[in-house]
């Protein structure tokens, strides 16, 4: 008993030497770029209404500081403990998703998505993303042998519950992230291609049914239409797309320079410090800057997949793969909608977009990746 404890303690001390600095650096790099972009996007509008031009950057810095603590917490314990508590965490996150729809939650711009906490907004959907990753990792790592269709549907069911709950908020973007986590982890679990096909068909049928009973909101349909057929939609939706593309395109190869983007400064792009933060980078730092940003994501994901490969147990592999899927999908859908190849959904750009909940959870995710990575020999 004594010995065992000593081994663990010794292992723990040993483990911190195996932290992945490249993964950490990529995440920090992205967050720093985010700070610059947020400042560029917001300082003029804030100054115009006589507010501190650094208001949003300072708040984001606060989130980063809190995030650093959360990251350290996520590193500090043995990730395998997570497997034990995964069910509890998952159920708790579902309860939060339900509670946010009650008067406990706060409504912003017609969507009930947040809890108001000490002047900050906490989005339970962000917590639910990581909770789902843990839940699915725990569930899949317990399965033995090849996945049956029944297994696939049970796994999908676990993802469908939070996906449906956030969809009601309405938050189509987060639903898509849940789906991506599910698919990514099912791929890693070795699901047969035809099972995935059956799953996809089922999802299509359910979505069509959702249209029929009116669960899908009009503006969601409109956004999808805007993507599929740009001539069919309101000028407003079209305007967002156009302005984002103009901003990014006018950046050219090298960009117009930090703080000099006319599209950015004149508020032509909506939600520019959150969902459309990429347009700031595109306009002010050009193709080069965009590629640097994508490169950082590349490094982040490369390291995440490396963690999945190096993990000493399937739980760790699933955990890393789930997190990687989450990052990849959010990055792709967000940048994709900024450049006009994906429909407009409310998905933030990980580490870069302004927003506390998303940043905290992303940093927690990085912490978990580091956790799995450094305990690979334990």
């Amino acid at each position: 008993m004594e010995l065992a404890t000593g081994r663990v303690v010794a292992g723990e001390r040993h483990a911190f030497r195996h932290i992945d600095p490249i993964l950490l650096a990529a995440a920090i790099g992205l967050a720093v770029i985010g700070l610059f972009a947020i400042y560029s996007a917001t300082h003029q509008s804030l100054a115009a209404v006589h507010l501190d031009p650094g208001r949003f950057v300072k708040r984001q810095l606060t989130f980063l500081a809190v995030g650093a603590v959360v990251l350290m917490l996520a590193v500090s314990f043995d990730y395998r403990l997570l497997k034990v508590y995964a069910g509890m965490i998952y159920v708790s996150s579902l309860v939060l998703l339900v509670l946010v729809r009650t008067p406990f939650g706060t409504s912003v711009k017609g969507a009930q998505r947040w809890f108001e906490l000490f002047g900050f907004q906490l989005a339970p959907s962000e917590i639910a993303k990581l909770a789902l990753v843990a839940m699915l990792a725990a569930f899949l790592s317990e399965l033995r042998g090849d996945l049956t269709l029944q297994d696939v549907f049970r796994t999908a069911g676990l993802a469908a519950i939070p996906a449906f709950l956030v969809f009601l908020q309405p938050d189509l973007g987060s639903s898509i992230v849940f789906a991506a986590i599910l698919v990514g982890m099912l791929v890693v679990a070795g699901t047969r291609a035809r099972y995935l096909l059956v799953l996809a068909l089922t999802a299509v049928v359910l979505i069509v049914a959702g249209f029929q009973v009116g669960l899908v909101r009009e503006y969601q349909i409109e956004r999808l239409q805007a993507f599929l057929d740009p001539t069919s939609v309101s000028a407003d939706a079209l305007h967002n797309r156009e302005q984002a593309e103009i901003a990014i395109g006018s950046g050219g190869l090298t960009g117009v320079g930090f703080g000099k983007g006319s599209q950015t400064n004149l508020d032509f792009v909506p939600e520019q410090h959150t969902d459309f933060v990429f347009t700031v980078i595109g306009e002010e730092f050009g193709f080069m800057g965009s590629v640097v940003l994508l490169g950082l994501y590349g490094i982040l994901l490369w390291r995440a997949f490396r963690v999945a490969l190096l993990s000493r147990d399937p739980f760790g592999t699933y955990l890393a793969a789930g997190i990687a899927s989450m990052f990849a999908l959010q990055m792709f859908v967000n940048v994709g909608m900024n450049v006009g190849i994906m429909p407009i959904t409310g998905i933030p750009l990980p580490f870069v977009s302004y927003g506390g909940s998303s940043l905290l959870l992303n940093l927690a995710s990085v912490g978990l990746l580091l956790n799995v990575h450094m305990r690979r020999f334990v």
Partner: protein, 645 residues
């Protein structure tokens, strides 16, 4: 498991490939165009309307000026399926029936895409409410726009004209190439004819704007050039006097029962006051009139019809220049002058004035017929000279003159062939007084009037055989012309100009309402050059004779003696002529034309009242009222005057 992770990584790699490709397209290939769009985005050109010039009377009294008005406009295309709810909400806010609002939206004067002003001078409270609840009012806009203000109300409305949206026809006119659909332009009157001076030049402002159009600062500007001010010859006081007199006289006429047709309808009328020495119009009234301020908003077709249609005798019509009427006996002085000049009559001779006159049967022409022409009274007025025949307006003295024009000139080919005279010297002489052609006054839509000729009669018959069943020229055409009937038509302004020539020794001045155009920097851009010429080829002695004869109208047994009973002729010289034009099946049209002079002033006053009965009954008292006002005399009351021609 390692392989599967790599599969997932491969999927992610594909994502990166897609994004990078798209970024390459946007930021490298399409960059130039998008850069241009970004530049356009940030700059907005705003047209700044030029303040429209004001319109002043001869003394500088403001007749038309500008003011700001809060206007609610509705863009039909943006309303969509919410039309009903928006109109209901608006009707409650504006305290106006929704039906009326809806009908204004159907105003045919506006293009489908242009916002239609449905309410003007909206209270601030309503404007703010709409602004604050904009999402509930799609297509509804609240604007502060400059609109015309008329300090004297409807006074001079017909002369001043009104503004409206430029018509499609005007837009095609190369002269209006600088106008765009939806622009406001002078539609009628002075506003229309001096549009170029009044409009000014619009300015341009180049702003940097953000996405919601907020102004972030000026880049450049081209200031608007204010329109020039137009000063008119019109005198606000005289204009008001003419309009008030016309209205009061018409209202009185409606209480008068004449002959067998019951109360006089007196549905409309016109009055012109001009200075014969210059042609300056001092007043031009048309009844019924309208409020030009109404034209700052849209009308439903139904409302337009109700306000400006037949039910109200077409108040938009400027009857002084657009109304064409048989002049009746007011024509006689010009016929008399011609007849004197052509030796048809003389000043020394006496002529019988029987109740009727029969045109001689012409033996040589089997087609000729025998005609009986009646005087306006059944009494035999005995023998009289030409002067008295004018004063008493004896038709049966004039009929034979008409026959002589036929006899001496029209059928006497020998003299015409010798070039001694024209075929139709009467028409020629009448034309020299300005009849049958526009006076060329500086107001739009002036009518020609008509001096019928044989050629005209034939051609109109060929064109409209139904309405003009006879194409041949008969003695009767000359005979009726002598008393201003038949196919003869004049506008009140033509008659006023002709009397002006009579008062001015045959020198006729082109009537005008413009005095000068003054730029904002006070320089005179255009000064009206009077255009007076002696077209009339009638000896001065005959003109003087006729003019003097017309003083006889006013007193004694003259036709206007009753209407001018008690008038101080010793202080103010007045010579005039009554006229009673027959326009069957309507009641007679009442005319009075007067020349006056006193204290260095000279005026011609012409009054017409449609269905106003005899000239002495309605038009003469109105003219008297105007003359009294012009010379600051005590006003007489409108009283019933026995009907004389």
């Amino acid at each position: 498991m390692g392989l599967r992770v790599k599969v997932l990584a491969l999927l992610v790699l594909a994502m990166f490939a897609a994004l990078t490709t798209r970024l390459w397209f946007l930021q490298v290939l399409a960059s130039e165009e998008l850069k241009r769009e970004a530049a356009d985005n940030a700059v907005r050109l705003i047209e700044v309307p030029a303040p429209r010039g004001v319109i002043k009377d001869a003394n500088g009294t403001l007749l038309v000026q500008n003011r700001g008005s809060v206007v609610i406009t509705i863009n039909r295309q943006e309303l969509g399926d919410q039309t009903e709810s928006v109109l209901l909400d608006l009707s409650e806010l504006l305290d106006m029936p929704a039906d009326e609002l809806g009908a204004r939206l159907d105003d045919p004067r506006y293009y489908a895409f242009s916002p239609i002003p449905v309410a003007t001078d909206v209270p601030k409270r309503v404007a703010y409410f709409i602004k604050e609840h904009q999402e509930e009012f799609p297509g509804v806009d609240v604007l502060s726009v400059p609109v015309r203000r008329y300090p004297l109300g409807s006074a001079g409305a017909h002369v001043l004209g009104y503004l409206g949206q430029i018509s499609k026809a005007k837009l095609k006119d190369p002269g209006f190439a600088d106008y765009s659909p939806g622009d406001v332009i002078g539609v009628s009157g002075i506003e229309g004819i001096y549009e170029r001076y009044l409009a000014g030049t619009r300015g341009l402002v180049k702003y940097r704007v953000n996405s919601i159009g907020e102004n972030l600062g000026l880049i450049g500007r081209q200031r608007p050039v204010a329109g020039d001010d137009v000063w008119l010859t019109l005198d606000a006081g005289t204009q008001q006097l003419a309009e008030d007199s016309l209205k009061a006289g018409i209202q009185h006429a409606r209480t008068v029962v004449e002959s067998d047709s019951g109360y006089l309808k007196a549905n409309a009328g016109a009055a012109v006051v001009l200075d014969p020495r210059t042609g300056a119009i001092e007043a031009m009234a048309s009844f019924p009139t309208f409020d030009p301020a109404l034209f700052t908003r849209g009308f439903s077709q139904e409302e337009f019809e109700r306000r400006f249609g037949a039910g109200h005798s077409y108040p938009l019509l400027n009857r002084a220049i657009q109304g064409q009427y048989p002049p009746g006996s007011t024509y006689k002085p010009f016929v008399a002058a011609s007849a004197l000049q052509r030796d048809i009559v003389t000043t020394g001779q006496s002529y019988g004035c029987p109740p009727s006159w029969t045109a001689p049967f012409d033996q040589s022409d089997p087609a000729a017929m025998q005609y009986v022409f009646n005087n306006w009274t059944t009494a035999n007025l005995g023998f009289m000279n030409l002067s008295t025949a004018l004063a008493r307006s004896c038709d049966t003295v004039f009929y034979p003159m008409g026959y002589r024009y036929w006899d001496m000139f029209y059928v006497n080919d020998e003299e015409v062939a010798n070039g001694v005279t024209s075929h139709e010297p009467l028409q020629h002489d009448l034309g020299s007084f300005g009849f049958g052609a526009q006076t060329r006054i500086d107001l739009p839509f002036e009518q020609d009037g008509r001096v019928p000729t044989a050629e005209w009669k034939q051609s109109i018959h060929d064109q409209y055989p139904q309405s003009f069943p006879e194409g041949e020229w008969f003695p009767g055409d000359f005979i009726l012309m002598t008393i201003g009937q038949g196919d003869t038509l004049v506008t009140p302004l033509q008659l006023a100009a002709a009397y002006g020539a009579l008062e001015n020794d045959g020198k006729e001045c082109v009537p005008h309402v413009l005095d000068r155009v003054v730029a904002p920097d006070e320089t005179v851009v255009r000064d009206y050059q009077q255009n007076c010429r002696k077209h009339v080829r009638i000896d001065d002695k005959y003109l003087t004779y006729v003019r003097d004869a017309l003083t006889g109208t006013m007193t004694g047994s003259g036709t206007a003696a009753a209407a001018f009973a008690g008038f101080p002729f010793n202080d103010v010289w007045v010579a005039g002529k009554t006229g009673t034009a027959e326009v069957p099946p309507k009641q007679d049209y009442s005319w009075f034309a007067a020349m006056t002079a006193a204290g260095g002033q000279e005026h011609v006053v012409v009054v017409l009242v449609e269905q106003g009965g005899h000239g002495a009954t309605t038009a003469a008292p109105i003219a008297r009222h105007i003359i009294e006002g012009l010379y600051g005399l005590d006003f007489s009351q409108f009283t019933d005057v026995a009907g004389t021609d």
